[in-house]
Amino acid sequence: MPAREGTYGLLAEFDTPGDLVRAARQAHQDGWRRMDCYTPYPVEEAAEAIGFHRNKVPLLTLIGGLLGGAAMFALQTWISVLAYPINVAGRPTYSWPAFIVPAYEWTILWAGLSAAFGMLALNGLPALYHPLFNAPNFRDGATTDKFFLCLEALDPKFDLAEAKAYLQQFHPNSVVEVEY
């Protein structure tokens, strides 16, 4: 992506999840959309506050699982029935009960991998560089004990001065401007 210039957004820091949630809920009611919360642990209320409800991870997982299972079962059947059919212990070449086990394992394997890497992908990770890291107080708090609300510049309502003022009403520890 072309390196953007200018302001990424405004970052308000809170001490408690409570404050954050109230602020976020208010902002959302006031029509802010391009915003995000940053917390050291998942705060579900905050997600609801900014109206983030469902995600695509489960779907990916389901698809991955089904594909994995089907692939394995098909492979086994092809090998034992078509590729080189041999009489093993007088068992039928199509010994489906035996084939279930590896197929089952692969269902789980691929479901699991899809879940994990799907999640990362949807989150746009890895993203080693991010404007937020420019904020002086962000890295010290966001992954430890501080709760942030960020109004992004891309939001149509966004205006640096107004936004700053708007955030101040929630009595954050600080409000800082984040550059790209």
Partner: protein, 471 residues
């Protein structure tokens, strides 16, 4: 059952529940973060760590020697023979895999059951799982007569155009174990990402920052990320649960599918799984108890955890006991001579001693004592129990694998089994290797999930405005 009456002013007790606290009082987000991060980011490593690390490293080298000799000479250097063609290698394999189960169980199943207390022990339990599986995975490979052909067990397009034989439980193992290893690692890593981010942000040195920065793939705690993250972990937990159950079931198929009396038993799957969890929790204790002492983590790994582990062991221990009872019962009730004789031989044959060791270590000692809360919360005793149970579970596998094989269908080809020094070196070697890896983990990675522990703190409670105003 509580043998110890609850004193109102006991700090270890949560007055609300009357149960032990999961986390000792007076912890803040920052304090626990610091506590856990410091262990890793401290400039000077404790001497004790170095000492242990050297010892474990030495053991790992011994393992290397044993395996090198094995490759040069062949599996004949072990005690295996006719008719006992499987020995220590398979015993250790099953044992290690079993150990692994507790990790996944704690992090996955207890997560599904919303057992908050699991949070502070889940991380190193998972680490334990991975290293145990690593040790386990070693054995199926090296126990082969021609290990350099191990890749023939994978369905790959060779010019021979011959393929693996999927009716064999060993093939099932290949997939079960590899899946289990992969999923465990992923689950472990994903769980660690936010904490790695914390490490990144706590780290002072540039190298550390780069190291953890890379590992944490730029995690920044966005709430959207958190939500997807939560879903993913939940799904992984949901997948890991059937997986962990299936893995030891499949392992048990190695025996249950065979025709051998003493192996050919339908009860194996459930009681292998139970046994696995049994030994797994034992191992968790074996690790947790010294750890919390050494790094002063008593506030995070409290007596509550020890106590609960004890309860889980009690429960699974009884399932295992039921398994043994059933074997005995079926031996009589089935009126099947093969079974009857095999059971008789197990208990009273030339290898009978091993059976009684197993009974003592798995049933006699733990199942009588774990009832008492006093003992369950007696750290020293629990440590002892954990060792005992692990021994017992090892002997369970010994009895199943060796004793059954020494005397099977044809009396003419009965035999005996005596392990050689190479067997012991390999086994002890893997123990050392396990410790080695675990020490590295403790030193380099956050051994407790900070983000999950944070949720347990009072500070994480979101109070309505009014209440807030009140205080």
């Amino acid at each position: 059952m509580a043998t110890r009456e609850v004193k109102p002013n006991d700090p270890a007790i949560d007055p609300a529940t009357g149960e032990f606290r999961v986390i000792a009082p007076g912890q803040t987000f920052r304090s626990i973060t610091e506590k856990i991060v410091r262990i890793v980011l401290t400039p000077h490593t404790p001497m004790g760590w170095f000492g242990l690390f050297t010892v474990a490293g030495g053991g790992a080298v011994m393992l290397l020697v044993a395996l090198t000799w094995l490759f040069l000479k062949g599996v004949g250097i072990w005690g295996i023979t006719q008719p006992v063609a499987w020995g220590f290698a398979i015993i250790n394999f099953v044992w290690w895999i079993g150990i692994g189960h507790a990790g996944t169980l704690i992090s996955a199943i207890l997560l599904l059951f919303k057992q908050g207390w699991r949070n502070s022990i889940s991380r190193f339990a998972e680490a334990m799982t991975i290293f145990a599986v690593a040790c386990a995975g070693l054995f199926p490979l090296v126990h082969m007569g021609r290990p350099w052909l191990g890749y023939w067990l994978f369905p790959l397009p060779f010019t021979m155009t011959v393929w693996p034989q999927f009716r064999s439980p060993l093939m099932w193992d290949v997939f079960a174990v590899s899946t289990y290893a992969t999923i465990s690692v992923v689950f472990w890593y994903i769980g660690m990402v936010p904490d790695l981010a914390t490490m990144r942000d706590r780290a002072q040195s540039k190298i550390a920052q780069y190291f953890y920065g890379m590992l944490s793939v730029g995690w920044r705690g966005s709430i959207r990320h958190w939500m997807r993250y939560e879903t993913a972990s939940l799904l992984l937990a949901g997948l890991a649960t059937p997986l962990v159950l299936s893995v030891h079931t499949v392992i048990s198929f190695d025996f249950a599918v065979a025709v051998l009396p003493g192996w050919h038993t339908t009860i194996f799957p459930p009681y292998f799984v139970a046994g696995a969890i049994y030994s797994g929790f034992a191992m968790v204790l074996t690790l947790a108890i010294p750890l919390r002492k050494f790094y002063h983590l008593e506030q995070l790994v409290t007596e509550r955890h020890i106590d609960n582990c004890g309860k889980v062991m009690l429960a699974t221990g009884f399932i295992v006991a039921y398994g043994y009872a059933m074997e005995a019962f079926m031996a009589w009730y089935s009126a099947n001579h093969w079974e009857a004789f095999t059971f008789w031989n197990r208990a009273f044959g030339p290898m009978g001693w091993s059976y009684w060791v197993l009974i003592t270590c798995n049933l006699a000692i733990p199942l009588t004592t774990l009832w008492s809360r006093k003992l369950r919360t007696n750290i020293a005793f629990m440590f002892f129990i954990s060792i005992v149970v692990n021994t017992g579970m090892w002997f369970e596998r010994f009895v199943i694998v060796v004793t059954s094989l020494t005397r099977d269908f044809l009396p003419s080809s009965w035999g005996t089994y005596r392990a050689t020094k190479w067997d012991y070196m390999t086994f002890v070697g893997t123990l050392a290797f396990f410790t080695f890896l675990f020490l590295l983990f403790v030193r380099l990675l956050p051994m407790m999930p900070m983000n999950e522990i944070r949720m347990l703190l009072p500070g994480a409670k979101i109070k309505p405005k009014v209440a807030e105003a009140a205080d």
